[in-house]
Amino acid sequence: MSALKNAWEQLLDQRWLLPVLVLIGFVLAFAIPEYNLLNKYIQLVLMYVGINIILTVSLNLVNGYMGEFSLAHAGFMAVGAYTAALLTQKVLPVAAYPGLFPLAVLAGGLAAALLGLVVAVPSFKVRGDYLAIITLAFLMIVKSVIENIDYIGGPRGIPGIKRLTTLPWVFFWTVASVWMIRNFVYSKYGRGVLSIREDEIASELMSVNTRRVKFLAFMLSSFCAGIAGALFAHLLQFISPRVFDIIKTTDVLIMVYLGGIASISGSILGATAYTVLLELLRPSTVAALLSWLPTLVFDPLNQYVIQHLGVWRMVIMPLLLVLVMLYWPRGIMGLREFRGFVPRRDREAHHRLKAHGGSHGAADSH
């Protein structure tokens, strides 16, 4: 058993592990739609999982690592979605050149980042609950501004967006977002973000430029939310202000706190588990999964339980969240990280001296 555990830990320490996994993921992302390895519905769910991972990891940067409580995430998502949709609808000739789609996504991210800059400003003065209220107000402003611009459809939204979001693109942007946020977290700026959560004044007195760090964290977080919004718009093919209301933010919040604050692997876990479970609880999915039961059992079960899940799944999932919060207040992976995500240098610096019994000279022998 311990030999197995050792082998597992050695595997995790391999430099090639993550790149190889990403490569396999890419091959699968291309192969699955090409050869119809999974049915269309599962492919759709996979894409939602990817988009939700981007949203969750990026919100975790502000709510988990920095310890603020931002409610504006759906607003950034909306800005990204609208910017990208307008570009593919009216500006970029994507019908002739589908390769231009990433440009639209990038533009969506940049537009959202610009707005993230604006939200960062109140965070210089205000913290905690009060900042949460300000971000909520910001979300409402974004929504009503969109509702009042006729050019972009007002409350009716934009219908008929081209379906440009594909599995490989979702996979690419998910990997890119997670990679950037992970890199950011393991840099002086990321440590600055953590120190702001711990003690902002002490952070300033340890030479951290807290304003700059907040700017960067909010911008990166909203940039990724904008990207997720752009992908979302070109998957759903229809966006309206109502899609990006507080409920959307709440969904992401649930995924963040379920997976665990200040943890990238936790966010990936939380987003995946929540998205998949929510789909699994759909009456049609449950019925399909249980269809092997004998008719005598299945029919009453179907009639009295499964058909009502459409309503009850929205009770079951929050209930699950309540249980997680009660027994794991910091979420499943709260403040912990899958070691494969931690840069090798960080990992060794935290552990090698322990292993060498504190002899400093031995540290370079690796």
Binding site: N183, K188, G192, S203, L205, S207, A349
Partner: protein, 256 residues
């Protein structure tokens, strides 16, 4: 030339005068103590120097640079390190990260390099880790690098706070009650230790302390505050026998 000068610094909290006409002249290499009863304005002076509060009036200069009006991180980056009266570590972070964070201003790489882990990022990060481990080793904390700061025993937390302040690479170190909560034996060690880091890191030290033994034992000059006003200043022997000080701070009668 003086390293740190304060001229006619005043600070008010609302209508309350916390610091009145504070003057200071600290030469490079000095080890100076500030004493005074609770509420005398000692910590407020540290907060004014480091920019946590903006002085209502007056000027504080590091050499020629005016510090009033600067933000705490700008002042800290000018190589002024400090510790806190009640320990203010980053409690949920590792011992190593506590020290690494204090390298923020010295590490020069851009957000883009951070985002992509390119360019100067790797070289700078390695330098930060090496320096942090060097400091942790000096403070006998290197084997605890991966430990969460809040799990450390009290004495180690105090040492970690000083290690973190030294990671700023300070010229001037402000120690706010370094001996708080220590027994006489530990205070003896601390006195030796402060003198050692002063030599080793070529520091100018300004310290606030209630423990007379420490202040009288190592400080070359002492400043006595009461109700925001400076009562006396001078070498330990003079302070010990100053009747004004005895009455206000040490109590009446000869020091035992």
């Amino acid at each position: 030339m003086a390293l740190l000068t304060a001229t006619k610094v005043k600070h008010y909290f609302g209508g309350l005068c916390a610091v009145a006409d504070f003057n200071l002249d600290l030469q490079p290499g000095d080890l100076m103590g500030i004493i005074g009863p609770n509420g005398a304005g000692k910590t407020t002076i540290f907060n004014l120097i480091t920019g946590v509060y903006q002085a209502s009036e007056g000027s504080i200069r590091l050499r020629e640079i005016e510090l009033v009006g600067k933000t705490p991180h700008q002042i800290t980056a000018l190589r002024i390190g400090r510790t806190f009266q009640n320990i203010r570590l980053f409690r949920d972070l590792s011992v190593l990260d506590n020290v690494r964070i204090a390298h923020y201003a010295q590490s020069r790489y851009s957000p883009l390099e951070a985002l992509l882990h390119l360019g100067r990022y790797h070289r700078e990060e390695q330098r930060i880790i090496d320096n942090s481990q060097r400091l942790l080793a000096i403070f006998k904390l290197e084997h605890l690098a991966g430990e969460t700061a809040k799990n450390l025993p009290y004495g180690s937390q105090r040492r970690l706070e000083i290690a973190r302040a030294l990671a700023i690479d300070p010229e001037l170190l402000l120690l706010d009650e370094p001996a708080a909560g220590m027994n006489p034996n530990e205070i003896d060690q601390l006195m030796e230790f402060i003198q050692w880091i002063r030599r080793e890191f070529k520091l100018t030290i300004l310290l606030i302390e209630h423990q007379m033994k420490l202040v009288m034992g190592i400080c070359e000059r002492i400043k006595v505050l009461d109700f925001g006003e400076t009562l006396a200043e001078g070498p330990p022997e003079a302070i010990q026998n100053d009747p004004k000080v005895l009455e206000a701070y040490l109590g009446e009668g000869p020091v035992g």
